[in-house]
């Protein structure tokens, strides 16, 4: 039984503490992240949710004066032990940010960027990857006739889907999304949400969101963070119908935070 549980998890975080200088930003986090599921992280501003998601591919290392203790086990390997190949880690654990941030290059080159960095040069192979990635994010039909056009000419929603395609092009196992729709209109938001539901067949997704309806619509499990602590982690249907902790209830019903 124990083995089955372990195999279901991509990440197992044990007693993770994080400090920005003196500020204790994450406090004793224990958090399993299940394979091919969508995990949503909710909580008020400053609760540590973006900090937490950035620890999963060690993007947090770019922030000065960060110190961490505990374990972040990725497929059984503790990525905090200093031996992790960061390029390899970030290839496997891709990230998408709040606002689409395409490179000032063509649509094609944006998606081909990652594979090229990882040494893929053959044009037909690159074309294959770009096509597949754009199809995966349902952008192919919209851009197939203008792959050489500048990516910055796309709409906000298209740019965000392009960035997801760019993240998928390196064939990651996990996709981290930090408020991926907060800058998008409602229809573009729903397209990304539909995309998330389709992508979870192949990928493990962790999404930080301020939009609680979004968390309830797309995720399998939801975590509620408050002041650096993981207050509650449970099935999304349980969290939004009958949460165990009063603080979770207060937050999701909009009565504090």
């Amino acid at each position: 039984m124990a083995n089955i549980t372990v195999n279901r998890q991509v990440f197992q975080i044990n007693d993770l503490n994080l400090w920005y200088g003196e500020h204790h930003a994450l406090k004793g986090i224990n958090f399993p992240i299940n394979k091919k599921e969508v995990t949503a992280i909710i909580g008020p501003s400053g609760c540590g949710k973006s900090t937490f998601i950035k620890t999963l591919n060690l993007m947090i290392n770019y922030v000065p004066n960060v110190r961490m203790t505990g374990e972040i086990n990725y497929n059984g390997q503790n990525i905090l032990n200093g031996k992790m190949d960061l390029v390899e880690l970030r290839k496997n654990v891709g990230m998408v940010f709040q606002k689409g941030n395409p490179f000032p290059q063509s649509i094609f080159d944006n998606v081909a960027y990652g594979p090229r960095v990882h040494g893929i040069k053959r044009k037909t192979h690159l074309e294959e990857i770009v096509t597949k990635s754009l199809m995966d994010v349902a952008l192919w039909e919209e851009v197939k006739d203008r792959l050489d056009a500048p990516a910055l000419g796309l709409s906000g929603g298209q740019q965000q889907r392009l960035c997801i395609a760019r993240a998928l092009a390196t064939k990651p196992e996990v996709l981290l999304m930090d408020e991926p729709t907060s800058a998008l209109d409602p229809i573009s938001t729903l397209k990304i949400e539909q995309l998330i539901l389709e992508l979870k067949e192949k990928y493990t997704i962790v999404i930080v969101t301020h939009n609680m309806q979004q968390a309830s619509r797309v995720s399998d499990q939801t975590a509620f963070f408050l002041m650096g602590e993981l207050i509650e982690l449970d099935d999304t249907s349980k969290i939004f119908s009958n949460p165990s902790d009063e603080r979770t209830e207060g937050y999701i019903t909009g009565r504090f935070g």
Partner: protein, 219 residues
Amino acid sequence: MNTRLNFDSNLKQLKDMLIEMARKSENAIKESIDSLINQEIQKAEEIINNDTIIDELEHEINNKAIILIAKESPVARDLRKIVVSLKISSEVERIADNAVNIAKSTLHIGKEKHIKEIVDIPKMMDLALEMLSDSLNAFLTEDVELARKCAKKDDKVDEMYGRLIKELLGYIQKYPAQTNQITQLAFVCRYIERVADHSTNIAEHVIYLVTGERYDLNA
């Protein structure tokens, strides 16, 4: 700062509307039994006609609940409050329908002399209405213990119902010419027994509202 003042005030209004509807239904049951005992044809007709007021209240409650769901995206206890209001309004509407049924039985019996003084039916009604009152108070105060107590009384109503039906059926042989009256009185017992059942259902909804768990009080 109460960040959901407007929503909370709407939830309170929903609750108040439901209580108003329930009080009207409770009253309709009492009046219907009075009309039966005193053979008041006009009162029975009024009860039947006034049922539309209760039906209208149910529609208003349902509309308000639907609008709150659509506009406020309720979750957790807020969502349960609204869903439970929808459920309870339906139970209360059925209770009022039983008042109509009793009034119709009054009309069927008409002015025919009662085979005996009607004593046990009002007692059974008192018990069923006590259950209704308990379940509504449990809803008002979100009191799980009171909800559970309400359900316990249902056994007593069922026991009374069984006894009265047996007694009434016994009268058929004794008063064959009054079979219609006896049958109507048996129906009335059944209607009161249904009021108790609906009250138990309300109590179950209250338990769900408070705990988030389904509970079968008749199990």
